[in-house]
Amino acid sequence: MVNWVPPEWEDREMLAELGIGSVEDLFRDIPKKARMGRIGLKPSMEEPALVDLVRGILSKNRPVSGFDSFLGGGVYTRYTPAVVDGLLQRSEYYTSYTPYQPEASQGTLQAMFEFQSLWVELSNLEVANASLYDGATALAEGVLMALRLHPGKRVLVPGSLNWERRSVIENYSHGAGVELVDIPWDPTTGLLDIDFIAREARKDVAAVVVEIPDSFGLLDARLPSLKSTLGEVPLVVYADPMSLSLLEPPGSWGADIVAGEGQGFGLPLSYGGPHLGLLAARLSAVRQLPGRLVGVTQDADGRRAFTLTLGTREQHIRRSRATSNVCTNHSLMALAFLAYATAMGPRGLRRLAEAQHATVGSLVTALQGTRHLQVPRFKTPYLFDVAIGVEGATVDQFLSAMLERKIFAGVPLDDPRPVAPHPRLNAFLATAGPEIDAKAIARYASAARAFGGA
């Protein structure tokens, strides 16, 4: 048995002090009818056996190193400098909790202040919170925040929006009782109908959501002038933080709220979580911001100090009228984001982003003229992912054929639910990160050409 609980002889001393005969007496307030028998678990095990058990189960995974991975779609394989995980493994960070007692937790607090500052610089907005769960929940919280800033019963969301993010927004907006309206997109360019947005924004709309790059991986050059057509309606932008090392930040073109997924900055893919939700807004809206916020102040001796602030927005004080129910956030992931960005520096981030964009370009070039594939699916600039259409077969059939050649060829774009409301695209996204070289691209192209269709 592992040595994680102190020995039982201590129990006897403590029971004697309490004047009771057995630990069981401490559970006499649980009614007999509610008592349970065995849980039904196996006996305890020593640490070596535990390691064998867990590693044995995980050995049924196929090592990722045996495949060429072109999987992206918002979360990416990127090398993280070893120093980042080294810092994350300091138990002073990972075994502490929300810094309710600021004097004891200046480390976490200062790091979160620096993290907030970083997302402000990247997004060019004015205030950022100390993290949310992931990109989708950050976007949904951003929409709820917009609803508190502007009246209206409808929210315009991209028709091209990733099905998971759309579903999360839908679930988050039940309480607010709003309707999501899908902005139509052009089947050739993949881009949103900007005229539709301008027209509809005047009709009881509380917020407009756009993405850069969007869920098809595309860059819409018209977005920087979008805000001028919206008047007072808040513009909520979902942006990839890595893209912001290259692209004009949404804060510079009128975004009121910027949400994003921070995984690509120093966080392992971890099969989908834990990742990192980023949220920034205008300072005038700070009282509507959800989540923890760290501010600067001073201690009794006038020395600089950091503390959680504006707690009256939060559930532990405001209860049902809080800006959000969020309590535990993704603080450690925010620390990773901060340490990664600082280890890479603005120039390192930009070089990485440029290289990924260029490598995707090489993939597109290599796939030109491949039967059954439409590369790219849309005649529009893309950034880190290219949308590829499949003809004469299903996406699943193509991806399965590629898997046999040890290639993870892409992330399907269609909603996998059989009752999904959206039209089928039969397309997928492919990225090409730093670990993809010319040979891997050649292998992809050759495998794709060998695909015989359905």
Binding site: R35, L58, S59, Y93, E114, S270, L308, S324
Partner: protein, 479 residues
């Protein structure tokens, strides 16, 4: 043994190195109007400078591995190191969520076995690991309840909860589209009469934490369940306090329909300075169809994700859950096993009663003496010395121990909520008693001046909210 935390006066990152301004030249394939013109400024320290910065900051952080951290309702137990080693297995960390299921059978098996174990532990066999944290689990559970009543053609509008409920309960209720209604307590527990008065055909859910936030077991829980079910409503279990009852009772046995578990509390995944957490949502068979998609299914010896659940609420986040945290919880459960988990609760309840008994000699304890994994004290007697619970909490920090949760629940004036989890030894509890005793017996002047042995002195939280400076940008404007 005197405690002194490191005091580094550590500069902010941009005070260590002058920030670099990154310029963007034209890039083929990216429309010119989209290229970054607003400078992105951030420092580029050397790796050693970076490492020193964050190492020094870490030394100004109290943590479980620094000392006892008895925050009530947070279950700050030891996080076994082996979990950190196992969770860094490359086949887990490097796996993309869109990878074909045939390549991640190990991870899926682990998740499946964790779901099974949590189903047995809660007595509610249908489990989703999608929620990212406890509050997210509550929200998901309430969406499930909402969908259930919607499907029945009986859309209900209210959630009832005790006034002692965690703040996340009413907040999650509002977000899920319900009107939360708080009812008063009696002797620290649910007042059955107030419950009966409040409950009606409009009631969708009654949310309850058992043991509750006063650390008391709600002995009338079966009667509560009957009354809730008699009105056709559902009973929700907030699993934040599950550490008290493993193997003794479970939400299913107590008559609950929905439960969430905070894996970062009971099942020991690290709290990360505020997160990530991880949650599991467990429900009865009648509610299975409403759980988020995808559901993990086993066919023969193979595992896959299933999306064909037409009644499902859909998604509450991207992908499948905080899988990296799930693995740590799985390792914790497997290591303890049947008897070990029961011992976890036995020792946590023993620790709590022992420390309550001892600290009860220093400060008054409200309600009945028998508690579960946590207990309340009142700092009210300090008032005649011109002191508050907050002052005592600050003075405690100087002893090298963390303060309890303070001012929650509001049921008790000047409350302190203490949770000494099972991983704390008798020695550690006795030391905590001594720390409390020294703190209370210290001079009023010293208590007011505390803390003095930490990285900073008493922090002016009011000034932080008055003169808001929330980023480097704000500091540039108002240094």
């Amino acid at each position: 043994m005197a405690f002194h935390q490191a005091r580094w006066d550590e500069p902010l990152l941009w005070e260590i190195r002058t920030p670099i301004e990154s310029k963007v030249d034209p890039i083929q394939g990216i429309p010119e109007p989209l290229l970054r013109k607003t400078p992105f400024r951030w420092p580029e320290p050397t790796e050693l400078e970076l490492s020193r910065h964050f190492t020094r900051l870490s030394q100004m952080n109290f943590s479980i591995e620094t000392g006892i951290y008895p925050l009530g309702s947070c279950t700050m137990k030891y996080n076994p190191r082996v979990g950190e080693v196992l969770a860094r297995d490359l086949s887990m960390t490097a796996a993309h969520p869109a990878q074909p299921v045939s390549t991640v059978q190990g991870t899926l098996e682990m998740l499946y076995r964790l779901e099974e174990a949590l189903g047995k532990i809660t007595g509610l066999p249908n489990v989703s690991l999608q929620p990212a944290a406890g509050a997210h689990g509550e929200f998901t559970g309430l969406l499930v309840a909402r969908a259930y009543f919607h499907k029945k053609g009986d859309p209900r509008t209210e959630v009832i909860l005790p006034e002692t409920a965690h703040g996340t309960n009413p907040a999650s209720s509002s977000m899920a589209g319900f009107a939360p209604r708080e009812i008063p307590s009696k002797d620290g527990c649910v007042d059955l009469r107030a419950l009966s008065d409040a409950i009606s055909p409009r009631t969708a859910v009654f949310m309850l934490t058992n043991p509750n936030t006063a650390g008391l077991f709600e002995e009338e829980v079966l009667e509560i369940a009957d009354r809730v079910h008699a009105q056709g409503a559902l009973l929700y279990y907030d699993g934040a306090n599950m550490n008290a009852i493993l193997g003794k009772t479970n939400p299913g046995k107590m008559g609950f329909d929905i439960a969430h578990l905070n894996l970062h509390k009971t099942f020991s995944t690290p709290h990360g300075g505020g997160g990530p957490g991880a949650a599991a949502l467990c429900v009865t068979d009648a509610l299975t169809g409403f759980l988020p998609v995808p559901r993990l299914v086993k066919e023969g010896r193979k595992f896959r994700w299933s999306y064909d659940h037409p009644d499902s609420i859909g998604k509450v986040r991207s992908f499948y859950g905080n899988v990296g945290m799930d693995l740590r919880a799985f390792a914790f459960i497997m290591a303890h096993g049947e008897d070990g988990l029961r011992r976890v609760s036995e020792r946590s309840v023993l620790n709590s009663n022992y420390l309550a008994h001892r600290l009860g000699k220093l400060l008054p304890r409200p309600f009945k003496p028998l508690v579960k994994h946590e207990f309340l004290l009142s700092g009210l007697p300090l008032r005649e010395r011109g002191l508050r619970t907050l002052d005592l909490a600050k003075r405690l920090l100087d002893e090298g121990v963390h303060a309890p949760t303070v001012y929650f629940p509001s049921l008790v004036e000047e409350s302190l909520m203490v949770e000494p989890p099972e991983t704390e030894s008798k020695y550690s509890l006795d030391a905590y008693y001594s720390a409390m005793e020294r703190s209370i017996k210290d001079t009023d002047e010293n208590i007011h001046a505390a803390p003095r042995r930490l990285a900073v002195g008493r922090v002016d939280e009011v000034a932080a909210a008055k003169n808001l400076r929330l980023s480097w940008r704000d500091l540039r404007r108002t240094p």
